[in-house]
Symmetry: C2
Subunit: 219 residues, 2 copies
């Protein structure tokens, strides 16, 4: 399948937005949207595996998001747990990054805060769970074990590599705190459809667009 | 004129890309594009002043850019000097942010590395000159005078406020290191035309689009 593309990104970031708007559109409570976002994530994972994409990062939920009503909070926490536990039954080198010292971090995901390899570990999958950009960056101020490093080598998410392509569903054209350091040179593609309406063609269109972008890294 | 818009951004970031591609399209040497980018910047400044936009940041040149051939480097350095000196004859509170300890930083701009108010100082204008995202963030590691602050309060560009809207000319959909901390929640609008082909309608279209975006700051 990768023969369809001249050049593929090595690391793709996924912002699966629009779950709540999708739920409202379907006459459901806002929090019901999140569980409809699990199957799309798995479908995308399968496509990446087939294409041989080496690394994918999913925006699970952020510290900003946890200001939302309790029912929504529980729903997106559960969706993240389900997504990670499903992938742990497949081929993946899984890493969950976020403030896991907080009670808002689901305990079930603590084993994944160091990268765990499952199956043949064919693809790196990162989940941001209770992630915060301030938390990520401020971590560098206390990384005293890395004295001669630059800031971007000391942040909490330093085991996540530079992003080549970020795809956001749900129409909004902003990063909303998604890995500010790794996003620096990333090409940013927006799908207007809501995430639960994910279709493989969204993804293929993003990849087709990406293969015509030049890579300059600011040079 | 501001009556045309329901809601205006308080701080707009400008990525004036496409100068070199414009030059090539017009049979000129690549470096000749930059001087054609000065008049558009001034036109944009005038529109912002009329609309009452409180703050605008222009992406001058970056430390990444200085790897380019000498003729280009001299051309974009000169364009930045000309742009800042032109605005210093008008109404503006000017600030130039970048690594000014390097020989790549134009000496003529040293007086502006602390904010200087000209005329009635009706609008804050920031220029990024010899700016680097690594430089900006790593600055925080040595800001020992601000011991209890979070990282984003200690970076080199901390006097530049959060961006509401970023407009990039030249068709590329990426930030290329533009103020990673201030860009976190910014809505990102891309104009396909090259910067020297700036038209007021590009700007008005961006503002029209912006007024229909919701502001959640990740919540």
């Amino acid at each position: 399948m990768s023969a369809k593309f001249k050049r593929l990104p090595k690391h793709i970031g996924i912002i699966p937005d629009g779950n709540r708007r999708w739920a409202q559109q379907h006459g459901l409570a806002k929090e019901d949207g999140y569980r409809h976002g699990i199957a799309p994530g798995f479908a995308l994972y399968e496509l990446c595996l087939e294409l041989g994409i080496p690394e994918v990062t999913f925006y699970g939920f952020t510290q900003d998001n946890t200001k939302r009503p309790a029912a929504q909070k529980q729903a997106f926490q559960q969706a993240c747990v389900d997504a990670v536990q499903t992938l742990a039954k497949r081929d993946a080198a899984l890493l969950v990054i976020g403030n896991h010292e907080s009670p808002l971090f689901p305990k079930e995901l603590l084993p994944y805060t160091k990268r765990q390899t499952f199956g043949r570990g064919l693809i790196k999958i990162n989940f941001l769970v209770n992630y915060g950009w301030k938390w990520d960056l401020s971590f560098a101020l206390n990384s005293h074990d890395l004295p001669d490093s630059q800031l971007h080598e000391r942040i909490a998410s330093r085991d996540i590599s530079r992003l080549d392509l970020i795809i956001r569903w749900g129409g909004r054209r902003r990063l909303s705190g998604f890995l500010p350091v790794q996003s620096i040179y990333a090409d940013f593609y927006v799908v207007d459809d809501y995430w639960p309406d994910f279709m493989p063609d969204h993804f293929f269109s993003a990849l087709k667009w990406y293969e015509n972008q030049d890579i300059t890294l600011g040079g």
